[in-house]
């Protein structure tokens, strides 16, 4: 059995607070978007969504600071040389190997806690989609300070569509993320690691 202390307290706190904010934003957002008054009353959903949006911005800045100065940033560096090979191996494992008991192509270590697919998707989410989501959210809040139209189309409409598309993509990420974490050695290995900080494997790494 091996045990690795992968997730320091600040990171775990950040992860779960970020998750809480994200789920709240998703629920209030869906409630407003589809006018689902039974899910969350409209009058409550709007201020909660706006407040959580601001807090999510803070959360993202904490993530950025943690990566810049907290030493967490190294996990998000993409190795372009090995990326194609690693991606193929990882995808092959999820689509085939996992069903035939093939060994996991990636082994968690203190220096590499994320496999190639994780690195790529997390970088895409945290440095690509999340800033767009946050910026479009702020653009909503301060839309009166923006020009009335952009390329002949109402600015609010453009912002709305960007915010919406990115929100759909991040909701998709949440579904995949929630499932993929069950593909550790046991279905709860990864979940426990994000709760306790310790990544434990019976077979050893």
């Amino acid at each position: 059995m091996s045990a690795l202390y992968l997730y320091p307290v600040w990171l775990r706190l950040w992860h779960w607070l970020n998750a809480l904010l994200f789920v709240t934003l998703l629920l209030t957002g869906v409630s407003m978007h589809f006018s689902l008054n039974w899910l969350i009353p409209f009058d409550l959903a709007v201020p909660v969504h706006n407040t959580c949006g601001v807090l999510l911005t803070v959360s993202w800045l904490v993530f950025l600071a943690g990566n810049l100065w907290g030493g967490n940033g190294k996990h998000y560096l993409i190795n372009l040389r090995t990326l194609p090979r690693d991606l193929i191996a990882q995808t092959r494992y999820y689509l085939y190997g996992i069903f035939v008991g093939a060994p996991h192509p990636f082994h968690v270590s203190a220096d590499h806690k994320l496999n190639a697919l994780q690195t790529l998707s997390y970088v895409g989410v945290m440095y690509g989609l999340m800033p767009i989501l946050i910026l479009s959210g702020w653009a909503f809040l301060f839309s009166t300070s923006l020009p009335e139209t952009l390329f002949g189309i109402g600015t609010v409409w453009i912002i709305a569509m960007v915010h919406l598309v990115v929100a759909w993509m991040l909701a998709l990420f949440l579904v995949v993320h929630t499932y993929i974490i069950t593909t550790g050695e046991t279905p709860t290995t990864n979940l426990k690691a994000m709760v306790t900080g310790w990544h434990k494997e019976e077979s050893g790494g």
């Binding site: 407003m32 601001v54 109402g154 569509m161 919406l164 579904v175």
Partner: protein, 352 residues
Amino acid sequence: MFSHPQPDSRPGTQRLAIGPRQAARRQTLTQAFLLALLVLTGSAWANPSDTVAPNTADPAAALASSAPMPKEQGLLKEDSQDCMRCHWMENMAYRDRETGKIVNLSIDRDAYSHSVHSELACSDCHDRGFSHYPHRSSSADEALNCVDCHEGRQDDGAPNLIGLKHEYDKSVHVTEGVEAFSCFSCHNPHTFHPARAGESVVDVVAETNNTCLDCHTELLTPVPKGHEWLPRPQAHWGSVRCLDCHTPLEGRIPERPSHNVLAAEDSNRLCVECHSKGSALLSQLYNYRAEQAREQDGFFSQAIYNDAYIVGMTRNPWMDRIGLTVILLMILGVAAHGLGRYYIRRRQEDSK
């Protein structure tokens, strides 16, 4: 009740009455000094009534400001005071012999002082035929005209209303020949003011809509006539102006609603004009509300706690369909993946 309390206005009248007396008393106390002052400044004390401005009742304000008082204007102007000796009374009214209706002649000082015309004295508009009392009924027939008056006083900052007039001339109120309809049917020049900064959206909407409902009383029912198709009409009326649907979609400007009020059959009935598409209507409505809310409680807090979100504003049927389909397929995909893992693991465990 003749002694109707008017805390804001009555003391003001008294103030003006005792003003000269106070000045005279001070004069006797500081004669020598004032003599020199008179020589130096000339006019200030020569006309004591000029020195009596509304702020003099507040000793702190009087002490704090030693600068010359602003020139009296609006209702404080001397000849306006003559008018207001009667017209401040709330029960100043008469019954018109021909129509049998009560004609209200009372001027609300507070509302007037907050109106766009607050700087105007009575005689600036009502300039002839009022020297006799009681006024001749013909005095009231003076042809006051908003557009002409504003055009003539553009140099004084009166906004040009000619654009409004063009819109108004096309409105159903004119084309249907509504009897005796004029600017004053909707706008009371003694109280009129544009939506004030800091006024809540709900109040602005209520005030605007009440102007319509003052005449259109037939609409004061739970499901108003002609609005049966509109879901939750009362909720709409509480947050959207009548004008937002009953004016043309084209040519809207964010600053003010159009005055081309449409007939019911020409009015906007497309829900998606507000509830989804990035139309001009949507932008005007959204920005109007966000801006109103912002001025109410400050830039930052109101950006977050505004009530500018419109249900369905972010909606696009195709985007929703694609988004929901992708999410659903992904959920099915991972569920199938998970089930596959589960069954293979069980088979492996069974075979051991």
